[in-house]
């Protein structure tokens, strides 16, 4: 299937008291129809700003440069009425917090049919029939009753499923899901991940999943983009990145995860925390937290380069080139406890 979304050289600068600072810095990626792509990184890595820029929903005063093309048509620079025709119809969003995504005092049915009637021009009766069908798809029991109910009458997991139904109402071609399951129980999460997977296969819908949970990524995303401080750190097939991460940051994210097969070995956290907006270090933004950092890392900006067919890496020293697979990563050189002096006494 062909390329649906093509993002080239996207930068987003946000106004702060000390001037403009880049929250997203020269990011390029593409998403094919029917594909699930993952964007991973800690908070503050620019994941959410990247998503918002697709919808023209950035905070006031944000400066965006680069290009975002959906089916070849440029989205940047569109007027708000042009964007309204695209939001919901072509691209839709599911956000992290199901309690704020739904309107508290409009019935669920109204929220579900609004999109359909606006974008698809169907009658109210037909929209209601479709809405009930949609609720059945996301497994809400008794859909007819649910259409007349309000958001507050549902549990968190059910609200998130309803929010997904709202996002799917106008049959978007691209769904952007920002931490869609982070607040949910694993059982509900499993249901939602399976649903997304099915929609991609059956409808050819593309999904961008944004999460810091590499377990979730591993389950649904075929390709993975790892971001750090607004830039691309590493990108490639999920299985390859997880089995043989080449960027020290990707490796760090993996080592910080409890591994289902590894038993009680202590987790290896990445020392320190990600830089805040406007305090991004020169050179490679990860170098102050990187245990492999070399003098050049503090000065030279790492550009992403292809190290295999579809594997991009922004780490010129490439210290993990010959490293063993990540399975044994728990006893890697990380044992020194990181760079920030937070190791246990």
């Amino acid at each position: 299937m062909g390329t649906l979304l093509q993002v080239d050289g996207l930068s987003v600068a946000l106004p702060t008291r000390s001037g403009y600072h880049k929250a997203v810095d020269d990011l390029s990626f593409a998403v094919d129809a029917g594909e699930v792509m993952g964007i991973a990184g800690e908070s503050g890595s620019g994941k959410t700003m990247t998503a918002l820029s697709l919808f023209g929903l950035l905070p006031n005063g944000a400066r965006v440069t680069g290009s975002i093309r959906l089916d070849g048509a440029e989205l940047l620079g569109l007027t708000s009425s042009q964007l309204r025709a695209i939001r919901g119809r072509q691209i839709a969003m599911v956000s992290q917090d199901p309690s704020t995504a739904l309107h508290p005092i409009l019935p669920i049915g109204t929220q579900l049919t609004e999109h359909m009637r606006y974008h698809l021009g169907v009658t109210k009766t037909e929209a209601m029939t479709r809405a009930a069908e949609l609720l059945r798809t996301v497994r809400i029991p008794d859909p007819e009753q649910a259409l007349r109910s309000y958001a507050g009458q549902f549990s968190g997991g059910m609200r998130q499923r309803i929010a997904i139904a709202v996002a799917l109402a106008a049959e978007p071609r691209l769904l952007v899901a920002d931490e869609p399951t982070t607040a949910l129980d694993v059982t509900v999460q499993a249901g939602i991940l399976r649903l997304l997977d099915r929609l991609c296969r059956e409808r050819g819908m593309a999904v961008i999943v944004i999460t810091h949970d590499l377990g979730v990524m591993s389950a649904v995303a075929r390709r993975l983009y790892v971001m750090y401080a607004g830039r691309l750190a590493e990108a490639g097939p999920t299985s390859e990145l997880i089995a043989r991460p080449r960027h020290p940051y990707t490796r760090g994210l993996l080592d910080a995860l409890p591994h289902p097969e590894a038993g009680g070995a202590p987790l290896v956290p990445i020392g320190g925390s990600p830089p805040s907006l406007g305090r991004v270090p020169a050179g490679c933004p990860f170098h102050p937290r990187c245990r492999y950092a070399q003098p050049s890392c503090a000065t030279d900006r790492p550009e992403p380069r292809l190290i295999a067919d579809t594997h991009l890496l922004a780490c010129p020293p490439d210290p993990l080139r010959a490293a063993p697979a990540a399975e044994g990563g728990q006893d890697s050189p990380a044992a020194d406890g990181g760079q920030d002096g937070r190791a246990a006494p």
Binding site: E42, S43, R139, P141, S155, G156, G157, M158, D185, V186, T187, V188, Q189, A190, G191, L193, R194, D197, H212, D213, L214, G215, V216, M217, S218, A219, V220, R222, T238, S239, E240, L241, I242, A243, G252, L253, L254, A256, L257, P258, H259, P260, E261, G263, G264, A265, P266, L267, V268, P269, I270, S273, R342, A344, P345
Partner: protein
């Protein structure tokens, strides 16, 4: 296990007024020893947070007892906690709400020492030690909570509970509000503290992987009851209760294999109107007719306890795994 530091026996907690009574916790037996981490897992609404709150005296009990170091933990309402409960401390989920924003970190921590009869000066000295213990610079004592990240704030909250010289900590989702790498740091810190200070720790979490990583024993809860409890390794490697099985199968594995986690259909039933018999039977893949009627009690099977007569029956049969 040695003499438990905290023991719950037949604990039940009700919410709501007369007509609308909801039993959030229904006859839970549970104990934590010194130097031990017991993980408490289950879906939202299963009563794990209620259990944590009841264990420190924040909820009135409808029946049963909570005993800390041999003495009753009573519900306190707004009264001051008696001194003998100072060794039982709670770490809350949200470090943005649990720290007073108008006082310095040093003062916040020193309170614990002063309430125990120490001077302000002793308190501030101890605060510096504790900050170092939880991995923060001693200079942090002069700053305010808003100057720190979520993970750092949770360290401060932990340092504050340590100032009371606890022998048992109850941590209610202590890492779920934090970033991935901060989660690993706090999980490691808690497990070091348990080893070093010989604390008992009850770790409530909806993140099963973290519980798997740090807990010695795990208790799986469903709708106000414990359905399986035992050594973490045993329970994880071979879950016996069908609910535990479903939970473990629902965890997505970060192995890059692209395997979708297994779904458990249905939602947790309304606790105001729990199903008859085994409370899990409407969602259970192996439910039999008898499950609708027979109330399940925890029975020792194959190195752990489960509340499932279908599984405990077949496990006890000759064909099943040996029970000990």
């Amino acid at each position: 296990m040695t003499e438990p530091v905290l023991q719950l026996a037949g604990v039940a907690v009700d919410y709501g007024r007369r007509g609308q009574r909801v039993r959030a916790l229904d006859g839970v037996d549970f104990a934590v020893g010194r130097g031990e981490i017991v993980g408490l897992v289950g879906e939202s609404g299963c009563g794990k947070s209620t259990l944590a709150r009841a264990a420190v005296g924040l909820e009135p009990l409808a029946s049963g007892t909570v005993t800390f170091e041999g003495r009753d933990v009573i519900h306190l309402g707004r009264r001051r906690r008696p001194d003998y409960l100072r060794g039982l401390q709670m770490v809350f989920q949200d470090p943005y709400e649990s720290l007073n924003p108008r006082r310095t970190v040093g003062e916040l921590i020193a309170d614990g020492v002063r309430l125990g009869g120490g001077s302000r000066k002793q308190g501030l000295r101890r605060a510096a030690e504790l900050l170092e213990r939880v991995g923060l610079p001693t200079a942090a004592a002069d700053s305010y909570p808003h100057e720190f990240s979520g993970g750092q704030r949770q360290r401060i909250a932990i340092a504050r509970t340590l100032a009371a010289g606890p022998s048992c900590l109850i941590a209610d989702e202590p890492i779920s509000a934090l970033d991935a790498s901060a989660q690993a740091q706090i999980a490691n810190l808690l497990s070091e503290l348990v080893d070093d200070a010989d604390l008992g720790l009850v770790l409530v979490s909806h993140d099963l992987s973290v519980v798997r990583q740090v807990a010695d024993r795990v208790a799986v809860m469903y709708l106000g009851r414990i359905v399986e409890i035992g050594d973490t390794e045993t329970v994880w490697a071979s879950p016996l209760h069908p609910y535990t099985e479903a939970l473990v199968a629902a965890i997505p594995r970060p192995d890059g294999a692209g395997v979708l986690p297994v779904d458990l259909p249905g939602d947790v039933p309304d606790p105001a109107n729990p199903p008859t018999g085994c409370r899990f039977h409407p969602r259970c893949p192996i439910a039999e007719d008898s499950c609708r009627e027979l109330d399940q009690r925890l029975i020792p099977v194959a190195g752990r306890e489960i509340a499932c007569h279908v599984r405990s029956g077949s496990a006890a049969a000759p064909a099943g795994p040996p029970s000990d």
